[in-house]
């Protein structure tokens, strides 16, 4: 049995504070900001609830939520300590269906990117399942929880009507050139830029079904504004090659993984302060040299 370690009397236990992301530059700061659940997202626009429901296309506005099981309060279940500890989300409590929203993020100055979405969703929201692709990020939740989260995401600085698209299917297009109005490509043409309104207008819902009326979703950010929101390293925003700290941190990860796989005890030799574990791995490479020369 594992030995239980007693806490020393009087010792102050510091609360763990997640560091979230390395780097002192602006892009790193943006990444930290969106991942940090304690920091409030900035509200950039407003979208009425009914418009959101129509855009998602899971139910009609005003329609009751369909449920897949009775409300939890009415269910008599076997005792489970975890259920006592974890408070159900409103959607789970009501027995809502699981529904999804999918965002496709362009490569051109996106305010969010797939892996950052995954990390953000997991840090900020409860009761979720999420899948990362190269262009898009799927977020699955109970229906009413999803609507609340979708509203928060779309209204916030994490959304750019021009470079982030709401899609249910046919999600390709993240790395294609932008259209003449600067919008991300969509093979289903769910949206267009309304020049009179000055906003991006959805004419189809996420599932590419034609809407009864167009839904304006806000003004697309100008390129200058978008560059100020970009969370990726780009040659014309924040060149990746000059990110000394992030490169050192990922080098440390890579080194630790290789060393740990070779012999977990070698991990102790990595200097935790300066992240310069090269010598250790170089020694190992010298050991492995005779094995890898092969050929003749």
């Amino acid at each position: 049995m594992a030995r239980v370690r007693k806490r020393r009397k009087g010792r102050k236990v510091k609360r763990y504070k997640a560091q979230l992301y390395p780097g002192p530059d602006e892009v790193s700061e943006r990444r930290r900001f969106v991942m940090d659940a304690s920091r409030r997202l900035k509200k950039f626009r407003s979208i009425p609830d009914d418009n959101l429901v129509m855009l998602l296309g899971h139910r009609h506005p005003g329609e009751l939520y369909l449920s897949i099981h009775p409300p939890l309060d009415e269910l008599i279940e076997k005792y489970d300590p975890i259920k006592n500890i974890v408070e159900p989300t409103p959607g789970a409590r009501a027995g809502d269906r699981i529904r999804f929203i999918l965002f496709t993020d362009s490569v051109y100055y996106p305010p969010m990117a797939p892996w950052l979405r995954a990390r953000t969703y997991l840090n900020r929201f409860r009761g979720i399942d999420t899948v990362v692709y190269s262009s898009r990020q799927l977020l699955e939740m109970r229906e009413r929880d999803l609507e609340a989260v979708a509203k928060e995401l779309i209204e916030s600085n994490l959304f750019d009507p021009g470079r982030v698209a709401i899609r249910g299917l046919t999600a390709h297009g993240h790395s294609l050139r932008l259209d003449e109005d600067g919008l991300i490509f969509d093979a289903r043409r769910r949206y267009k830029f309304d020049k009179d309104l000055g906003e991006v207008v959805y004419i189809k819902n996420a599932q590419a079904e034609i809407l009864d009326m167009p839904i304006p979703i806000g003004r697309p950010l100008s390129e200058r504004e978008a560059r100020g929101q970009d969370v990726t390293y780009r040659w014309d925003v924040a060149p990746y090659k000059s990110r000394t700290e992030i490169m050192s941190v990922i080098a440390r990860y890579g080194t630790a993984r290789i060393l740990g796989g070779y012999n977990p005890e070698l991990l102790n030799e990595i200097d935790p302060l300066y992240c310069e574990p090269y010598e250790t791995l170089d020694k190992m490479m010298d050991l492995g040299k005779s094995k890898t020369e092969g050929g003749e």
Binding site: L176, R252, R257, G294, G295
Partner: protein, 617 residues
């Protein structure tokens, strides 16, 4: 950001010191020294960019400025049928099918509307051939199919054990005449001719005209005893120095390289090939040495099927469940040997060769890309795209390795850099420090090129495409300069799973880089389920088996390692020699040109049934 800084410098809180080195000795200046807006300086570097192969290729493919972020013609191309000759042909065939058989088939009206964006043609790298994208689909390209067929139908059998059995157990004398008679008989049996029973239905020789066998040995005296028609002459197929090395590797042993008919691959599978080669050899021994049905024959069968048989691929485990000689069971090192693009080059280690003559170095890098083309096609497209997923092949994910001159441009650029900065080196030390810094430099550079060329991002429109490029180029540069494929394989994982991912916050499709995260700890593992030497790993290694776009990178590391060391082969001299054979239907020296011939419908495959079709007698 001040809140994230730990000013205390307390070693006990090292985790907090891990990020933000203001409190450490690492200067911040380097991070902030690149503050400029390159878009404003575009006019200054545009003339240089225009001289690049990548600019010209993309310009040719897209008929547009490849550095323009906006495509004003998007949504106005009039659909895919208007843009593509092959799609028009498909539509006509769809109508024809519906009319003739009464059941509709291909129908462009269903599903998603294609062709909202530009349906770009494909320029085959290293050639001037521009083809339609559909021509590179495995099903439409007979050269691609034949490439894998040629690998699957090859089995190498050792003749030393059968010869000892003949001498010691049966008391027969082995003479040049008897050995030549055996070879002549083997040509007959491999094609489906009978030699033992007197009442047999045989195979039409026209259907199996690609079946043959050749002897292979490193001993010149032994070689001279055979009729030249069935000798795989290493001296003829390779550069003299390379041939000497190969002959030394093969030694005085005697092997026969058998090519089963392609038709057998088409009817059955790799397991049938293994047995087909064994039974053809055994029958040839029985007939040429006039043996009867005694127990000694089992020794021939055992030697041909097990003791001295070299299959190209091993059987796969239960859930993959394929016989020997199927692409998934072939180790990466064998794939590197199967590509013989380097056969006529001097076997000089890459770095000295490059430093002496830049063009020679570029030729070596071309050979590396040829190996990448073979691996991408066979493993990504054929194995994962058809065998494992049951699909129509991952055409776009594999074709980026051999189209658009993109990878070529990258490696040439790096060759020029190496030529400038590494003068005086024989081989770079195979150290993590060296490899990591070169890979970081290469990958950051490639990422910038992608960002600089929106047309390139559109050309490699999926994350999986870019991951393939990232996984191949940077690590291969390290491998070829250090000669260490193990280091390269570590760096493949590092380049994809960490460098690319953290820069762009995306890699490829779902779970794309999962094998990179477990691949790093498995790099040094020799346990069967985790790895082994990189040359002996393959898609038969469980953790390597389920994500596409990594296999080509691994094969490239093996091949680049071979070139970096100046070796004549990567894993087996026999396999290397077997695929330099000029009688093969597919030319493994120039796979990209062969794919182009297939796309242009100029490639004549084997295994066709024309002879027995109606009205062909």
């Amino acid at each position: 950001m001040a809140e994230d800084v730990n000013p205390s410098g307390d070693a006990g809180e090292s985790n907090e010191k891990f990020f933000h080195w203001r409190s450490t000795k690492i200067p911040l200046a380097t991070e902030l020294s690149y503050r400029y807006d390159p878009m404003e300086m575009k006019e200054k570097f545009l003339p240089t960019e225009k001289q690049r192969e990548i600019y010209n290729s993309l310009n040719k493919v897209f008929s547009d400025d490849p550095m323009d972020k906006v495509n004003k013609k998007v949504y106005k191309y009039g659909g895919v049928v208007g843009q593509s000759r092959t799609k028009q042909e498909f539509v006509e065939w769809g109508k024809k099918l519906a009319r003739e058989r009464g059941i509709p088939g291909y129908n462009r009206e269903v599903g998603i509307p294609l062709g909202q964006r530009y349906y770009e043609p494909q320029l085959i790298s290293g050639t001037d051939v521009i083809v339609d994208f559909d021509d590179l689909n495995l099903y439409n390209n007979p050269a691609m199919q034949q490439m894998v067929d040629d690998v699957k139908r090859t089995v190498i059998i050792g003749l030393d054990i059968p010869h000892r059995v003949l001498q010691l157990r049966v008391g027969k004398e082995i003479t040049p005449e008897s050995m030549n008679l055996y070879m002549e008989t083997l040509q007959h049996t491999l094609g489906g001719g009978a030699v033992v029973q007197e009442h047999m239905a045989e195979v039409h020789p026209g259907l199996t005209q690609d079946a043959y066998a050749k002897v292979l040995t490193g001993d010149d005296e032994l070689k001279d005893q055979f009729d030249k028609r069935w000798v795989l002459d290493v001296d003829k197929e390779f550069h003299p120095e390379r041939a000497e090395k190969l002959k030394k590797g093969i030694g005085e042993k005697l092997y026969v390289v058998t090519r089963n008919p392609t038709l057998r691959v088409r009817i059955a599978d790799g397991g049938a090939i293994k047995r087909g080669a064994a039974i053809a050899s055994t029958m040839a021994f029985v007939a040429s040495y006039r043996l009867t049905g005694e127990a000694v024959i089992s020794d021939f069968a055992y030697a041909a099927k097990h003791a001295q048989q070299i299959s190209m691929g091993e059987i796969m485990w239960q859930s993959r469940s394929r016989a020997e000689n199927e692409p998934g069971g072939i180790p990466y090192g064998y794939w590197a040997d199967i590509c013989t693009a380097e056969s006529k080059l001097e076997p000089k280690p890459f770095l000295p060769a490059l430093l002496e003559d830049l063009e020679e170095g570029k030729r070596q890098l071309d050979a590396v890309l040829e190996a990448g083309a073979i691996a991408a096609l066979a493993l990504e497209n054929y194995w994962l795209g058809v065998y494992m997923s049951g699909g129509i092949s991952f055409t776009s994910a594999s074709s980026i390795v051999f189209t658009g001159n993109i990878l070529d441009d990258f490696v040439y650029r790096f060759a020029e850099l190496v030529n400038t900065y590494y003068q005086g080196h024989e081989r770079l030390p195979s150290k993590w420090t060296t490899g990591r810094s070169i890979t970081e430099m290469a990958n950051q550079y490639m990422m910038e090129v992608y960002e600089k060329y929106p047309a390139l991002l559109e050309y490699h429109w999926g994350g999986a495409h870019r991951v393939t490029t990232m996984g191949i180029i940077g690590p291969a540069l390290v491998t070829i300069t250090t000669g260490d494929a193990m280091l390269g394989s570590m760096l493949v994982n590092y380049a994809i799973g960490l460098i690319t991912k953290e820069g762009w916050l995306r890699t490829g499709f779902s779970g794309q880089e999962v094998q990179d995260h477990i691949g790093m700890p498995y790099s040094c593992s020799l346990r069967a389920e985790e790895g082994g030497l990189i040359e002996l790993r393959g898609l038969n290694t469980p953790y390597k088996s389920y994500t596409a776009t990594h296999a080509a990178a691994s094969v490239v590391q093996c091949y680049a390692g071979m070139m970096g060391r100046g070796s004549a082969w990567c894993t087996s001299p026999l396999v290397k020699a077997a695929f330099a054979d000029s009688h093969l239907v597919f030319n493994f020296r120039e796979p990209r040109k062969e794919f182009a011939r297939g796309a242009l419908r100029e490639f004549e495959p084997a295994g066709e049934r024309d002879l027995v079709r109606p009205g062909r007698r």
